[in-house]
C-alpha cells in the first residue's frame, strides 16, 4: 500500500473548504435521517445539480457525509417514535423504543451515538488497510451465497419477536408474501399488480416500514389517547453510565466486526448486519428474555453494525465500481457527473479523491459524535410534545418523505393502507419487526434462489458444492436445527430434575 497517498489524503481533508463540506454533509445527513421517510438517497439526488459547481473531492465528501450522517440521525426516530427510516434501523426500534418508554431515551441514543462512532471509525481503519482484499472476497458472493444468507436472515427474524413464536412466523410469512408484489424478477410476469404500473416495481421498503411501524403506531396510540398514558418523567443522560458502558462495550465490538464484514456485500448487507448483530447479542446474553424489553446491548450492537456497514459499503463502490445499495447508486452517478468513473482505476487515477473521501470519514464521524451528544438532549424533548401535536406533524413529515421517494402520490395512499395493516397487526398482537424484515429479505431470497437454480441447472445440491455457500449452509443448520435441539434437550433434562426429586 502506498502510505504517501494515504497521508496526502489527510492533507486534502484538512483543506478548509473540505472541512466545511464535510460539516455540511454530515449535518444535513443527520437531519434527513431524523425526518422519517426522507432518506439519504433522495437527498443526494436532490443535491446532485448543486454538486455540478463544486470540485469533485469536496462534492463527494459532502455526499458521503449525508449517507453516514443519516445513519446517526435515523436512530433518533427509531428510538423516540418507533419510526425506522432505514431497513438497518428496524431492529434498533425494538429495544431502543422500549428504553425510551422506561425513561432511558438519553442512554439509548447516547450508546447508539458512541457505538456508531466506534463502528464507523473501526470500519474506516479496516477499509484503509484491507479494502482491495475484501472487495475481491465480496465477488465470491453469488446468487447461491445470497440465498443462504437471506435464509439465515429470515430464520433470525422469526426469533426476534417476544410474543408467541407462531405469531412472529405468521407476520414474517405475510411479509414474504408482500415481497412478491411487482413484476416477477426473472420472467417479468406481473404479480398482484392489479394491472397497474404503480405496483410494477413492487413496494419500496421505506413505504412498508413507514406504514407498518410509523402510521400504524400513531393510529394505535390514537385509540389509546383517552386512557391515561404512562408519563415519561426522565430521559436519562446522554453520556452512558459505567454499568451501561460495561454492558455494551462488547456488543459494540461484535457489532462493528459483523457490520464491516456484511456491509461489504452488495445488496442487503447493511440490513443483514444489524439483524445479525442483534441476533448475536440476544444469543450471547446471559438472560435473552431482557431483549425486546429495553436491553441496551440490543441498541449498541445493531447501531455499531449499521454504521460499520455504511462505511464498508463504500468499498465495492470505490474499489470495484459497484454500488452496494440505492444511496451508493446515486453516489455512483454523482461521481460520473464529476467525470470520475468509479471503478478499479479510481484509486490509481484519482488517489486524492479516494483518500480524501475515505479520510474525511474520520472527521465526519467525530463531528457527528460531537453533534449528536448535545443534540440528544434536544431531541428527547420530542417525547414531551403532546400526542395531539406530535402525531399529525409526524404523519405530515412521513407523507412528504414517502412522496419524495418516487414523486408519486400513489405511494401516499399505500402508506396509509399499510398503516391500517400495522394498526390491525398491533391490535392482534403481531409484531411489525418480523413482518418488515421478512419483506426486505423476501425479495433477496426469491430472486437469489431462482437465479441459483438457473445457474445450477435446477440441481439443489449446487448449494453444497460451492465453498462459501456450503459453509453458510452449515452455519444455517447449526443455528436453526442443532442449537435449538440441544437447548430443548437441556431444558427437558432441567425440567426432569425436579420431577425426579419428587418421585
Amino acid at each position: 500500500m502506498d502510505f504517501g497517498s494515504v497521508l496526502s489524503g489527510f492533507e486534502v481533508v484538512f483543506e478548509p473548504q473540505n472541512i466545511l463540506y464535510c460539516l455540511i454533509g454530515v449535518t444535513l445527513g443527520m437531519l434527513v435521517g431524523v425526518l422519517p421517510g426522507l432518506g439519504p438517497a433522495a437527498t443526494i439526488a436532490i443535491l446532485l445539480p448543486i454538486t455540478y459547481n463544486i470540485e469533485p473531492t469536496p462534492a463527494v465528501i459532502m455526499l458521503a457525509g449525508i449517507f453516514y450522517g443519516a445513519q446517526y440521525g435515523g436512530t433518533i426516530t427509531s428510538v423516540l417514535l418507533r419510526l425506522p427510516g432505514e431497513a438497518s434501523t428496524v431492529v434498533t426500534a425494538l429495544d431502543g423504543h422500549q428504553m425510551a418508554r422506561q425513561g432511558k431515551a438519553g442512554s439509548a441514543l447516547g450508546i447508539a451515538a458512541i457505538g456508531s462512532f466506534i463502528g464507523g471509525t473501526a470500519s474506516i481503519v479496516l477499509l484503509t488497510f484491507i479494502a482491495p482484499l475484501v472487495a475481491d472476497a465480496a465477488l465470491e458472493f453469488g446468487p447461491a451465497e445470497y440465498t443462504v444468507l437471506a435464509l439465515i436472515g429470515i430464520f433470525l427474524v422469526a426469533t426476534l419477536g417476544n410474543g408467541a413464536l407462531i405469531k412472529s412466523v405468521a407476520a414474517a410469512g405475510v411479509g414474504l408474501l408482500l415481497a412478491t408484489v411487482g413484476l416477477d424478477p426473472l420472467v417479468g410476469t406481473p404479480r398482484f399488480t392489479f394491472g397497474s404500473d404503480q405496483l410494477a416495481d413492487g413496494i419500496d421498503f421505506v413505504i412498508v416500514a413507514m406504514g407498518v411501524f410509523g402510521v400504524g403506531e400513531i393510529l394505535y396510540n390514537l385509540e389509546h389517547r383517552l386512557r391515561p398514558q404512562p408519563a415519561v418523567l426522565s430521559f436519562g443522560r446522554a453520556i452512558p453510565r459505567r454499568p451501561e458502558w460495561l454492558q455494551s462495550r462488547m456488543a459494540i465490538l461484535r457489532g462493528s466486526i459483523v457490520g464491516f464484514v456484511l456491509g461489504v456485500l452488495p445488496g442487503g448487507g447493511a440490513t443483514m448486519s444489524s439483524l445479525v448483530a442483534y441476533a448475536v447479542e440476544k444469543r450471547s446474553a446471559k438472560d435473552p428474555s431482557r431483549f425486546g424489553k429495553g436491553a441496551i446491548e440490543g441498541v449498541a450492537g445493531p447501531e455499531s453494525a449499521n454504521n460499520a456497514a455504511a462505511t464498508s459499503s463504500f468499498i465495492p463502490l470505490l474499489t470495484l465500481g459497484i454500488p452496494a445499495n440505492a444511496t451508493m447508486a446515486v453516489l455512483f452517478g454523482a461521481l460520473l457527473l464529476q467525470g470520475i468513473p468509479p471503478g478499479p482505476q479510481l484509486i490509481v487515477d484519482h488517489p486524492d479523491v479516494f483518500w480524501g473521501v475515505v479520510n474525511s470519514m474520520y472527521l465526519g464521524n467525530i463531528i457527528l459524535l460531537l453533534l449528536s451528544i448535545p443534540l440528544i438532549g434536544v431531541f428527547v424533548r420530542l417525547l414531551k410534545v403532546r400526542a395531539g401535536i406530535l402525531a399529525p406533524l409526524t404523519v405530515l413529515v412521513t407523507m412528504i418523505g414517502v412522496y419524495s421517494i418516487r414523486n408519486n402520490a400513489f405511494d401516499m395512499f399505500l402508506v396509509v393502507g399499510l398503516g391500517i395493516l400495522g394498526y390491525g397487526m398491533k391490535k392482534l398482537g403481531f409484531e411489525p419487526g418480523p413482518f418488515v424484515l421478512a419483506f426486505v429479505l423476501g425479495k433477496l431470497l426469491e430472486a437469489s434462489f431462482r437465479r441459483s437454480m438457473r445457474l445450477f441447472d435446477g440441481d439443489v445440491l449446487g448449494f453444497f458444492q460451492r465453498p462459501v455457500s456450503a459453509v453458510l449452509v452449515a452455519v444455517l443448520v447449526l443455528t436453526i436445527v442443532v442449537i435449538p435441539v440441544l437447548r430443548m434437550v437441556r431444558n427437558r433434562q432441567a425440567s426432569l430434575t425436579p420431577a425426579e426429586r419428587k418421585s
Binding site: Q198, I322, V397
Partner: protein, 331 residues
Amino acid sequence: MSESYTRRRVLAALAAVSVLPVAACGGVKGGSDDAGSDYPTRAVNFTVPFAAGGSGDLISRAVAKAAEKPLGQSIVIANKPGANGAVGGKEVLASSPDGYNIALAVKSLFAITPLVVEDPTAIQPDKMEIVTTLVQEDYVLVVNAQSPYQTVEDLVKAPSVKYATAGVGTGGQLSQALLFKGAGTKATDVPFDGGAPAVTALLGKQVDALSGSLAETMEHIKAGKLRPLAIFSTERSEFLPEVPTAKEKGYDVVVDQRRFIIAPVGLPEAVSTKLEQAFAEARKDSAYETFLKDNYMERWEVSDEEARQHLKDSAAQFESLAQKFGLTFKS
C-alpha cells in the same frame, strides 16, 4: 422566543414543501389564448421516469442544464421511476399540452417491453410528441478477462453458457437471447436486478457472459477485468473501434438503447418550436458534449418522424425475431 421563531420557520418550510407537489400536478391553466406565444413564462417540469443516478437520470440532467439558457427558464427535474419509464411517461402524456411538462423516454419501452409485459394502456409512438432525440447507447458482449473465451465463436461453441442480464425486458437480455438462439447454443438467461449487479456477477465469475451498455462495462474493460467480444450495433463503436460487431461475425443481431424527450400531443406550434430550438441549442453545448464522451453515449439526432418510424420498425423487427426463434419472455 427563539424557540417559537424556530418552530415557525420549520412550519413555514414544511408548508412550502407540501405545496410543491400540488403546484406541480395542477398544471396551472394559462390565462392567455394566444397559444403559448409568450412561452415559457415559468419553470418547465422535466420528469425523469428512472431512479436518480442512473444513465437516464444523468443524461436528463446534463441536457436540461444546457437547455435552460436557450429556453430562458429553469428546468426542474423530478425522478418518477416505475415500470421501465411507463409510470412517469404516462403521467406526463396525460397532462395538459402546454409545454410545461416533458419527460425522458427510452426506446426499450416501445420496442422490448411489449415482448415481456402485456399492457393495453401502453404508450403508442403515435400518441406523443417527440421534442428531441438525444442519444444512442450500444450493447457490448463481454466475458470475464480470465475466462478462456477469446472470441464470439469460442463462446457460442461452449457446451453451456449462463449469461447475465440487467433484468427482464432489457436490451442486454434480448441481444444475448437472439445471439445464442441464432447460434444454437445451450444458454441460460440469469436476470439480475439492474446493470451493476449483473456486472458484479460477471466480475465474480458467477456467470459466463453479459451484454451491457458501454457506460456499465467500459471502466471494467479499460481496467482489464472484462473482455469485449462483440458489439450489437450496425457499425463498430467509436469507443471500442477494435471490437467487431455481431453482424461482422455472422450473427445479425442489432439491439441498442435510444433516449429522447417526449411531451403530450397537441402542443401549440409556438411552444413546440421553442422547445425544439432550445434543445437543439442544448445539444451543441460543450459541457453536454463532454458528458456524452465521458459516458460513452453516441448522438442520435433525427427528426421526430424518423424517430417514430424507428421505434415502430424496431418493435416490429424484435417481435418477428422473437417469434422466429421461439423466444418467450411472457409466461
